[in-house]
Symmetry: C2
Subunit: 165 residues, 2 copies
DNA sequence: CAATTACGGATAAAATTTATCTGCAATTAA
DNA sequence: TTAATTGCAGATAAATTTTATCCGTAATTG
């Protein structure tokens, strides 16, 4: 069981975007610099967030990314699902049909208990992530550390964001 | 998020072993034939189950595998952990320390909220799998399908298991 | 001792993840 | 309308992980 590292980047990016004034946006390269990751690859994650309707992209001069919805409506699961996909972690190959005592196709219409258990477990996983919304992340990432850093971040945004007229 | 397919095999194997009389064991090749998977690779899973104390291996003539503990004490999480490992799905690279506004090392002693959320979610996942014990799996895999199959499986075990004297 | 069976490590093939590049489309400002 | 900027989509490549196999060794039984 493994979560791609793009999810971490995407989550930090969204947390940063949540601090942005409504009329501002941050360009890809600026975002990548802030969280310290290679920008060509972060581009992938941003595109997925964009397609999922989590962030809104604007091209051209003074373009960039901003959140597409209110932070309260964006959960950690939304981000994870967008970047890492939503295919189930457990892939049932219906082993029951194999071997000398293999069941016939019409015997296995009821789902395998193993697969069902993993589905349940994954539901719990998803529910938990779904209960964590962006404002909670912001509080636990950018601003909990020190007032000094808080000030620095705000100043950096002021200086590096693109403001629309 | 992905679970290796060896977990599926191991779970089916354990379910089969749970049907075994106390004085019997099943050899690797026999197990592999029953669930219809390549035996050299199943060997890896069996070794991990063995090291984890879930199955007991016996070498030599009439050797093979049997459960090391009562089925009631073996959960789907035990099996998953043994075969797939127990390293957390989310790997925090402490992005907070990166970039122009990076936090200093002593500012990030409190765990990142993102990482903490994934830990919570994974705990829920683990708890759910831990609540599913082997007898429940047996009922939902081998014996739920039809009485005819039930009989065939029991007969096959009788014929292919190694019985100790 | 001879046959059998699991163990452990090495190795290789396949698939997936991670990362980069390039040409194109859209947007804005001069 | 042109030039500069910025995101989009797809192709490609490198690195890592998963999947799979093999072989020599150790243990067990009769």
């Amino acid at each position: 069981m493994k979560i791609g590292k793009g999810v971490e980047w995407a989550a930090h990016t969204c947390a940063l975007l949540a601090l942005l004034p409504a009329n501002a946006a941050l360009a890809l390269d600026t975002l990548a610099e802030f969280i310290g990751v290679p920008s060509p690859y972060l581009a992938k994650q941003m595109q997925m967030l964009s397609r999922a309707g989590i962030v809104k992209a604007k091209r051209g001069v003074a373009g960039g990314y901003k959140l597409a919805r209110l932070p309260e409506t964006i959960s950690l699961w939304d981000i994870t699902g967008a970047v890492d996909g939503t295919t189930p972690s457990f892939r049932c190959t219906e082993v029951r049909k194999n071997g000398p005592c293999g069941a016939s196709s019409d015997e296995v219409i009821t789902p395998c208990k193993i697969a069902a258990s993993f589905r349940n477990a994954e539901d719990k996983f998803r529910q938990e992530l779904n209960s964590v919304k962006l404002p909670e992340l912001v509080a636990g990432i950018a601003l909990d550390v020190s007032d000094e850093r808080k000030t620095r971040i705000k100043a950096w945004i002021e200086q590096n964001a693109a403001f629309s007229s």
